[in-house]
Symmetry: C2
Subunit: 236 residues, 2 copies
DNA sequence: TGACCCAACATGTATTTACAAGTTGAACTT
DNA sequence: AAGTTCAACTTGTAAATACATGTTGGGTCA
């Protein structure tokens, strides 16, 4: 990929891939930190930086005196962490359908998070879609992007593509963190229609605020999740 | 407290306290890493280790070239992170009531997480309680502790005390991480009674598995949360 | 006055070195 | 043979250093 990627990130991606691909299985011991140093030609702090990311993403656990043990891959939907929804279940089981053509408009008022003046002035692009796992609708989400330097965005197509991937590839915008609010709600008519649920069924509602690598540029999502068949999973 | 606490943890606790106490306010710039080095007589890697914990706990954000900016204190209930529920709202607004005397018994079957043989053999101590914020019931939780080397546990009293604090002070057990599953459910008769909700209202259900500093010793919680008035908050 | 440049300072990445502390298993002692 | 000790290996903590990269504001030059 990018040859300018920091070494610890390359090591992180490499080890993560080997875990996801099953080369390292649940319960396996990773090579020791010193072995990884030799294998990848880096020093121990660099290795530890990569391993600590794997820990916080839930891929391994470290035990002093023993080593780094591969954690079981999460069974549920890992939406609570930054990695997004595709990491756990595998992108191949996911399909998404846009509900309407993305369009520029005003922010809803009131909005779920406070907006600064620049964001308010610019207005926002709004994208709503339904995401399916194994052909069952699990997510209905509405995404709000400030209309700042994202020309030709509305004309792009998002079917079965990751919004974050498009932002990263086409605009160099990376998600670096965020905050979220959770609550349980009852499905109304629209929700029960979109998620193929009865009315008055329990739905998990997430409101998320993403920070990006572009200073001052934030992305917002309101996500409704059917948790009847599939839990939402996270580590801490 | 403990004079053997690692330096980076002392610095973390010190800065965290200053943020919670309002000495550093939202939007303030923390002293730069080099200034903190001088102030606390440690080196930059140590300072950075402390700051990175503050970042992952959502207290600050770092900006290359600018500094570390104090984040707003979360408004909702910060149960998604390890810090627990008391950090955001302040312990003074929280009361808890035990529902029955803790007692030793068998694990429920099926159980929300897989148990190993030692845990199954030992049986478990079960504690259920309701937690109130501003005299309104928000949480109903059931906690399961393996009955291994926790003598005289059932006779202690937990009213208005943190379970984790008791474990730490009396048994030297610290929570070091864990995993959780989330879903939205409808309140049944018991839940609506405990949480003062109507039946068929939406409730957030968390199932949590805590790892502790005692090897092989895990704690489990099933938490039902009324999110009608108060969101659950998290960062990522 | 306005645009540009750049020095000063912030955090990010990386190396090297050292010692502390937990775990394991083999060798030794009884 | 069983229990103990200890050496070797693991991760944890910490220091000192160097350079890269992003931000800011003041000074310079047109």
């Amino acid at each position: 990929m990018d040859p300018q990627l920091p070494q610890y990130k390359k090591l992180y991606e490499d080890l993560r891939k080997q875990i996801v691909d099953g080369i390292f299985k649940e319960g396996d011991l990773l090579p020791s930190e010193n072995e990884l140093c030799s294998l990848y030609g880096v020093t121990r702090p660099t290795v530890r930086q990569a391993l600590s990311s794997l820990v916080s993403d839930g891929f391994i656990k470290k035990h002093q005196g023993k080593g780094s043990i591969v954690h079981k891959l999460p069974k549920g939907i890992g939406i609570l962490s930054i990695a997004g929804t595709t990491s756990a279940l595998g992108a191949k089981n996911i399909k998404s359908k846009m509900l309407e053509k993305p369009s520029v408009g005003q922010w809803p008022d009131p909005f779920m998070f406070p907006l600064n003046d620049a964001e308010k002035r610019a207005g926002c692009v709004q994208l709503s879609r339904i995401r399916y796992f194994n052909d069952r609708p699990i997510f209905y989400d509405i995404n709000y992007l400030p209309n700042i330097n994202i020309n030709r965005f509305t004309s792009r197509t998002f079917e079965n593509k990751s919004l974050f991937d498009i932002l990263r590839v086409n605009y160099g915008i990376e998600i670096i963190g965020g905050e979220q609010k959770l609550r349980a709600i009852l499905s109304d008519k629209k929700l029960s229609d979109y998620l193929r649920l009865g009315e008055g069924m329990p739905v998990l509602h997430l409101e998320r605020h993403f920070d990006t690598s572009r200073p001052g540029y934030s992305i917002y999502s309101s996500i409704y999740c059917n948790t009847m068949d599939q839990d939402v999973y996270g580590i801490f």
